[in-house]
């Protein structure tokens, strides 16, 4: 490596440069945080039902089979746009009904097909989950996914 780059110079570039990039990153994080709250997720209120639904989503670790906005396991379908795919994004009541009948019909038991476990949930839990998925669906995700297949 070139002679002008001594060990101490390399070290100083490392420390100085890292601080520089951390500062920029923190600034952009602050802006992004505000953007999420005020713009990209502002289309639907973050209601108690949505929050409850998020807890239901977490307690059952849905993310370790499904993906949500493309993140998670890739073992089961994307659900960030599932309400659009089902055609119920604009109807809370239909969203609840279809999700309830879906969850209560599992596992399918079909040989050779991936099985979703049977989760015992109250109607309130299912309603929350439906609202949470509608809330996720209305988020401005820069046009992703490319189509309704998710």
């Amino acid at each position: 490596m070139a002679e002008f780059l001594t060990k101490s110079r390399a070290r100083n570039i490392f420390y100085g440069g890292s601080i520089f990039f951390v500062v920029i990153f923190v600034g952009m994080t602050v802006h992004s945080h505000k953007y999420v709250v005020e713009v990209s997720t502002a289309g639907m209120p973050l209601s108690d039902a949505v929050i409850r639904g998020k807890h239901v989503w977490e307690e059952n670790s849905c993310i370790n089979c499904h993906s949500l906005h493309g993140e998670g396991a890739y073992f089961a379908p994307e659900v960030g746009n599932v309400m659009t795919r089902w055609g119920v994004q604009d109807s809370p009541e239909d969203a609840f009904e279809i999700l309830k009948s879906w969850i209560e019909s599992q596992p399918s038991g079909i040989e050779g097909r991936r099985q979703m476990p049977r989760y015992e949930m109250t109607d309130e839990d299912i309603r929350g989950l439906a609202e949470f998925l509608r809330w996720a669906d209305q988020t401005d995700t820069q046009g992703w996914p490319p189509n309704d297949a998710g």
Binding site: A10, V22, V36, S61, N64, H69, R114
Partner: protein
Amino acid sequence: MKYQSQKVAYWYFLAAMALFGIQVLGGLLAGWVYVSPNFLAEVLPFNIIRMIHTNALIVWLLLGFFGAAYFLIPEESEREIWSPKLAYLQLIILVVGTLGAVGSYLVGIHGGREFLEQPLWVKFGILVAALIFLLNVSMTVLAGKKTAITNVLLMGMWLLSLLWIFAFINPDNLSLDKMYWWFVVHLWVEATWELVMASILAFLLLKLTGVDREVVEKWLYVIVATALFSGILGTGHHFYWIGLPGYWQWIGSIFSTFEVIPFFLMMSFAFVMVWKGRKNHPNKAALLWSLGSSTVAFFGAGVWGFLHTLHGVNYYSHGTQITAAHGHLAFYGAYVALNLAVFTYAMPMLRERAPYNQVLNMASFWLMTGGMAFMTFVLTFAGTIQTHMQRVVGDYYMDVQDSLSIFYLMRWGAGLAVVIGAILFIYSIMVVRKSEVITPGSANPVPGE
């Protein structure tokens, strides 16, 4: 082994290898569920298997890092560890926490953020263990000789522990949850862990090749500088589609492209040091793992990462088997193989039986690396087909998955090779066959030869 307290590392490595076994067996099981979906579906659903597979991986890698630090810091600082008792206490906390987490998962108690599913008490346990570790190694280094290797290693460990705070922050707003989640996930594996990896690699190359310390340490600073300069803003490549501003598509694409550089440098570093080095170290297996780690990390993390990091590509490939392909090879090359390099280097000394041939160990390298490479190839093919059918044509997810079954079968075969390799590795480390023990030759070649 120059310092008695280095012995602490032995127990860390043992615990790490046990979890390594659990991790790959979990992977084998998950891979089999892809092939035969009804298998165990009622008893042990896929999400629980995957949780065990990923969590065991993360914890054993961390145990390996902790062990590596306890092994190399006394040699670098030229003194005993500040408190071996605290080091053992830390290990006990981590093992109890791990067993507690696995037990909880099996009875259905877990969080819901991917990779951070540990119950709250386990998360606190990890925090306490990290604090004990930081106190212990910082006191050791402060009292002793300070080198670039310990500087970078400590900086990596401090920063990754600090980032663990975000494991406790879970906003109700999903997009915010995702953004801060990446502060742990991305800034661990694509920033702070690279610091740990580079410093451990530097230590291994220093010992194995005998190249001048000044040269090694200058390389080290250049590598970690490129890692953080690219990796911090490179976080943006996870921010494309989760509800964050559009500018991340450019920031993320540009900076994450640069993330290839530290991995290219680490690979170059390893080979250049071996060429320059005059030392003929008897532990050839450790050298193989060190070179292999940096090479596979370059392909897995660097090349396969770049493959789908540009936002125009990622728009179609995001969340497909392409991601799975990259994830497997990147983790294997960068962090699994590096840990196995440390075990291979240190265990003979910790067990006071060096040097000796490690033919089985080297065989396990080729078996595991071959298996992981094949797995990556088949998942890449599966992901390419999936991307086309699902994202371009618009076929439904399950229909697409049904047409990928041949790839999942081949992936399982590749996984089986990895598991056999892992068992072979553990066997070769723990059991020394008599024929492999050799008497050390003369350190300097005969003049005139």
